[in-house]
Amino acid sequence: MSSFSSLFTRRKNKNRGRISQKEIYDKEGIPKHFDLNLEKNLKSMQELFNQTSDYEEIEIKIGDLKGCVCYLGTTLNKSELNTHVLEPLRAAFKQPKTESHKDIDYVREAFFPAVSYKYGETLHQLVWQMLNGYAIIMLDQHNRALALNIGGTDKRSIEEPSTQTIIRGPKEGFVEDINTNIGLIRKKIKNPRLVFEEFNVGIDSNTQLKIGYMKGIVNEDILSEVRQRISKINASGILDTGNVEEFISDETFTFFPLVFNSERPDSISGNILEGKIAILLDGSPFVLIVPSVFTDFFQSTEDYYQPFFMTSFIRIIRYMSFMITLTFPSLYVAITTYHHELMPTPLLINLQSQREGVPFPAVIEILMMELTFEVLREAGVRMPRAVGQTLSIVGALVIGQAAVEAGLVSNVLVVVVAFSAIASFVSPIYNFSIAARLIRFILIIMAASLGLYGILLLLIIMVIHLVSLRSFGIPYLTPVAPFKMKDQSDIFIRVPIWGDRYRPTYLMTKAPVKTKKSPPPSAPKQDSGGKKENE
């Protein structure tokens, strides 16, 4: 365990000059202290929010005690505010004057017994709570104020995830609201040891970020590294977990994603149970998982819901597709340019006769088509839905037929490009195919200049790069290199669930054994269970 922490030494331990929350408020000129005088407090609030149209304040009176409710109208649900705060306060106005009304605790208990609340003792806290959708109740001559959680504005309902779709398994997906997301995870893991720690990231955006993990399972070294890296995030605004990912990954200059992301609560819950750490950000339906290794990106949650034979087969197909995306176009270039002898003669004749009328060398031909395909793909993602039809017709016609008929490219080349493109969609995690898509182009150029030798050279360099990568101190290619026998049960093939009794050993979790050994499920024996049914 002790040697484990030495893995982190590579990361530079520099303070990146992060501005603390306190300094920001000082810059804005808000007094920190909550004044006993209500007028003074209101004045500093108004100064802060004077140009904001959604800042609202309502003067109230409890008995003869003056007070004020202030809130940002857009951050909370107004009808809820009416029923839970303003209605009871109207009743309060009619209350006879008693001494006990002076006590803010009593006020809360008497009028808002069922609303979740916090006390704010400084103005900074109150401003922060107001921004988060709380209604603030300030009373005269009190040194603290009450912040009531009214419940936020409308949010998207839980829907089926649009990425990482599956056939069998739970269909719900994360939404933008962080609390809903945590609820979705809690629904899957009902365990008091499931912990969510809160952070705020982004100097100006003050976005809520939470890390979730299982206490007692998670590796504390990794956890403290995660905390440290998150606290070092130095950005004006963090708008999506994609931003977080760039800040916390070990290596920026790589094509390969070092942080796993998912929109699926079941996938995230499964990973948390394995001993990994989830990173949730308010406003993003994508949840990050650290540390993640290369093989994670070839696993879909559905793998565990389908029969294990099928899963094992599909996993191997996925690895093959990755290699196909990567090497197919460049192999075409290398073989047609340099190594004709590798192909059986009839195939070679067939191929060359097709290329007869093509005016370009193979490498120009394939670069052209690959670029066209990338343009099509980008257009397909970005264009408005209404013009989708146009794109598919034009795309299919232009790429499929017209280019061949015009003699610009050969038929076989279209097959090669199309096949490698389809293979790139096999990866269950979309951003993983990015690596293959980018490296593919370098490979094509290497193949054009050095043939098969160039391809292999670049592949070896790619592997060297891969093995030198780390995700939160874990070598990226574990459990393949360094080889871990115990972890092989869920990598290229998947053993039945009851046989997979261990958490990944490379995580060095506190509880390496998931379940106790038990006999595999089987039908009752003929002489015991079987007979009873006949009687």
Binding site: Y338, H339, L342, P344, Y453, I464, L477, P482, F483
Partner: protein
């Protein structure tokens, strides 16, 4: 960048030993003097190889935590030790250039007929430099990824030839037809120096193994496994090509794999074999290169990472100028290198080291017991 603690696991050591020993030996073909009994020579050579390996590791285990060069300094003092280290650095760099030249010649004679040697030597060396920019660990892990392919392709070559019906067991007979003499001639000095004696570089690497416990066992099994693979390769070559053709072929394994023809589709796999031999070459050149770098590190007292690129370009250069043509290169390899380089560096100096180590360590033990 901070200096990392370099450690490789036992499994990685095992893989490195296998890749190292079959690296160029599978390609060039060994034991030609023994004619059809080359495979017997390989088997006996393997036994010698295990003994050699164990002897090297015995020397290391006497002074734990030190590599070969640190042993020199330990035994002979600073100046003599550094001088010996310098000799070894030159030796290691020279051998890595030789191994690289083997591969360059292979590529030039099979695929890139008009490509200058420089292109291949420079690109290969860049890959190796890139590995050692990251350190020994990365070499270990990279070989873990490629190891299955290297072994699988050697095994598949044999099966492919067998299925193609080119396998003539009668080529191997008569077993020991001329007695033991040709076998001995093959063994001494070529076979025991190349590839088995070259394990001297592992005296540098074995100092960086995480668990010290089973190094000897694992290394011995590693040499044994590579011996089995080499024997397998020798049998394939003799049975497929016959003694005469094998003797004349520059790259017998390649010539043998040309015979594969299956399903009217799998033909000319020799090209693919070339590329899977490539990884063995990278490991072998890499380990010699690393040995040299470590020696330089001891001499100059600077981290070796800063020297990878300059030394790498030197080796790429020497690969080209080391000899004028392939024939000269092979002749040097058979006549000059074993006697003047391999034997003194692999056996002479290590044997000389033994009494010094025993003497020094005994003195130390005495001191400990008296105090």
């Amino acid at each position: 960048m901070k200096q990392q603690v370099e450690k490789i696991s036992l499994w990685q050591l095992y893989i490195l030993i296998i890749c190292f020993q079959i690296g160029s030996a599978a390609l060039v073909g060994i034991g030609n003097e023994a004619k059809q009994d080359a495979w017997i020579a390989v088997i006996i050579g393997t036994l010698f190889g295990i003994a050699i390996m164990l002897y090297y590791l015995f020397l290391l285990s006497k002074v734990p935590g030190k590599n070969l060069f640190e042993l020199f300094v330990f035994c002979f003092g600073k100046w003599v030790g550094k001088f010996l280290t310098l000799l070894y650095v030159i030796y290691f760099f020279y051998i890595s250039a030789r191994v690289l030249r083997d591969f360059c010649e292979l590529l030039v004679s099979t695929i890139f007929e008009v490509t200058p040697l420089e292109v291949i030597s420079i690109t290969m060396m860049l890959v190796i430099v890139y590995i050692f920019q990251h350190g020994l660990e990365v070499l270990g892990r990279t070989s873990e990824v490629f190891f299955p392919y290297v072994v699988a392709f050697i095994v598949m070559t044999g099966l492919g030839i067998w299925f193609s019906g080119e396998f003539e067991m009668s080529n191997i007979q008569p077993i020991l037809g001329d007695g033991f003499k040709p076998v001995l001639k093959a063994l001494f000095p070529t076979m025991i120096t190349f590839p088995f004696g070259e394990a001297i570089t592992f005296m540098v690497i074995s100092a960086y193994i995480g668990t010290k416990k089973n190094i000897k066992k694992v290394s011995a099994v590693g040499v044994l496994t590579s011996g089995i693979l080499l024997t397998y390769g020798a049998v394939i070559q003799i049975a497929t090509l016959g003694v005469d053709v094998k003797d004349r072929a520059n790259f017998p394994l390649l010539s043998a794999s040309r015979e594969i023809s299956l399903l009217n589709f799998i033909e000319r796999v020799d090209l693919i074999i070339v590329f899977f031999v490539m990884f063995g070459i990278i490991v072998k050149v890499g380990i010699f290169f690393y040995g040299g770098l470590k020696g330089l590190e001891l001499i100059t007292n600077k981290p070796y990472r800063s020297m990878t690129l300059p030394m790498g370009s030197l080796i790429a250069f020497f690969t080209v100028v080391i000899s004028h043509n392939f024939v000269e290169h092979i002749e040097e390899g058979l006549v000059f290198v074993p006697f003047y380089l391999h034997i003194p560096f692999q056996f002479g100096i290590p044997l000389l080291l033994l009494p010094f180590i025993l003497w020094k360590t005994r003195k130390k033990q005495k001191k400990e017991s008296s105090s």
